[in-house]
Symmetry: C2
Subunit: 341 residues, 2 copies
DNA sequence: ACGAAGAATGGAAGCGCTTTCATTGTAGCC
DNA sequence: GGCTACAATGAAAGCGCTTCCATTCTTCGT
């Protein structure tokens, strides 16, 4: 009687459970569990019967219960600063594609370039017991680090390089990017050098690499402007105006992103600067619009999607117990020389 | 002895449980649960003691267990076609901001404009028992609809309008957008009218609205080109070349996105078309670069972020048991007239 | 035809919480 | 002072699954 009502209620509305399926298929719950997770352990005939019942009832397993029991959630969390600023969006796509095809799901956190928000997100994420976590950058609050290492799960830090990652890192050296850009500009030779950039740790590292390479050769000018990440078209335009007003002579500028570079370019264009002779602009990211600006933007290209793909693969290998995952996976970058430098 | 070992093991490594905290604080598990979820029900002295223990041990509650017991996961899932194509990225940001501030987390699904992928994602998502789900568009496979309605959770469909949503919808009429654009072009008056667009349901609706408005006035030309969503700069460029090669006379073109419009613009620019007299181009989305093309792009602006914000608010209200949530929440759009039309 | 080995299935316990209901503390009031 | 009312706490059950171990079926070799 109680059983009847239960089954009746269940087939009528939502919460069909594994036990219901078992009852309906005339097997025990364990068998149903196996039919779902390890079907090769179930005799074809029973398997078929169970699958029929599942299809009929529209049963959807409860992964909360499953995760609690098995301590495996098939969830991977990723924290990125933002997803609207294109730069990380493709990484997320790459990540997601790889995870989904391995049967995992993506829990997304947006930190807004704010480390204390990253900490809160980390706490909230850990509460869901993901099988792995992916963080942007290698700069974290010490509480975040402690919480993370204490949780004992695979961690991948992306978009930066370090000899001592928390666990594994997939990225590249931003200082090296800055240095490469300086070298590129140096070959042409300009009277003045400047950098326009935001204040997130990676943009700062690119600037430092740029400055370092020019040390003893030229002083790198910086516009007086508070530019918070993500920096905007407008930031670039205003900054470029300052730079142009401030002095004479040919100018080589490194921008912290293509968006900023685009703004700088607009200002230069409006003033009729001759590029790349009087003015050089190099962006960062090789965004979609970069080949289509006037003149087309010279920029640093890195495979943003690939960072996501590689991060996913690393974390999946770690989850599978592979001990040999490289601690630091380097991503290539290079300058795409177009019209502005 | 067993207890000692358990506690010892737990303080040493990860899995501290609520029971451990209770033991350490000298209270029962229920009290700890209350201290975390409904602290006002706990005497300040005990609360403080418990919080001290939590801080010391670095305890992070297990939301899988909590969700299983309470049937509330504080998880909201969202399925969008893509996140790299800017159009939905801001919606996700708006959504996420609102959800996080209400104590919820975002489970992200990317369908790639593929309905059967949407179905698979839905199944996987439902298995996590989210408190609500957000889907892009109003076109779904019937299995998806069945699964969704059977699950009995709040649903919000975004980025489209319909008199009969699955539950609640937040968006606007794409046909009306197409119609509005046609009207705008009609005022200037062109010899020919064309549409360049992708094949996702919403782009198709915009085209249909465009065609409908021009019915009896002009035949709308379409380039011969398979354009899958998301369509690209290159698509726009190639399509525009076709259109320009095909006939004579002034031309008014509606593009299914600003990216496509940008490509079309590049081709027109290269050929020296005079805009907006000989050629008009209207995009869709008002992307960041739209004001900065040459000439600046005329486009349809809608508040992409606001869709996310409103969707989040609707679903949160539904979760709170509010019965009066409007079934259809309309989002404004308007033409931003710049240089190309 | 019989036992051994492996295939297929089941029983019971438990994952870490929340819920409901019951119990004990603590004021407050006449 | 004694009773009521509410505040504060606790005991027990259970959410829906998986894991471990035990049991029952098959199949095969000889």
């Amino acid at each position: 009687m109680a059983d009847y009502e239960k089954i009746k209620q269940n087939t009528a509305s939502g919460p069909v459970t594994l036990a219901d399926i078992a009852k309906l298929a005339g097997v025990s719950p364990v068998t149903v569990s196996r039919a779902i997770n390890t079907p090769h352990l179930v005799k074809p005939r029973t398997l078929e019967a169970i699958e029929r019942v599942i299809a009929k009832t529209g049963y959807v397993p409860n992964l909360l219960a499953g995760g609690l029991a098995s301590r495996k959630t098939r969830l991977i969390a990723a924290v990125v600063p933002s997803v609207a600023s294109t730069i990380f969006a493709e990484t997320i796509e790459g990540l997601n594609a790889e995870l989904v095809s391995a049967g995992y799901q993506l829990l997304l956190g947006l930190s807004g370039y704010d480390l204390s928000r990253e900490l809160e997100l980390t706490r909230a994420i850990l509460a869901r017991r993901p099988d792995g976590i992916i963080l942007t950058g290698i700069t974290h609050l010490k509480e975040t680090r402690a919480m993370l290492t204490g949780a004992g799960l695979p961690i991948v830090e992306i978009w930066d390089s370090t000899p001592s990652p928390l666990d594994t890192a997939v990225g590249f050296s931003h200082a090296a990017v800055g240095s490469l850009v300086a070298g590129h500009l140096l070959i042409r030779g300009y009277d003045r050098y400047a950098q326009i950039g935001a204040n997130d740790p990676r943009a700062v590292q690119r600037r430092d690499g740029f400055v370092e390479r020019l040390k003893g050769i030229a002083e790198v000018e910086l516009p007086e402007l508070e530019m918070n990440s993500p920096s905007t078209f407008r930031d670039g335009r205003v900054a470029m105006a300052q730079l142009l007003d401030r002095g004479e002579g040919s100018l080589g500028v490194f921008c912290s992103s293509d968006v900023v570079a685009h703004g700088a370019l607009a200002e230069a264009h409006a003033r009729g600067c001759k590029m790349p002779d009087d003015l050089a602009i190099i962006g960062f990211g090789d965004f979609d619009f970069a080949p289509h600006t006037h003149p087309p933007l010279t920029t640093v290209r890195i495979d943003r999607r690939d960072i996501g793909t590689k991060a996913a693969r690393s974390i999946l290998r770690k989850i599978d117990g592979d001990e040999d995952v490289e601690a630091m996976i380097n991503i290539d970058f290079h300058i795409v020389a177009r019209g502005t430098a």
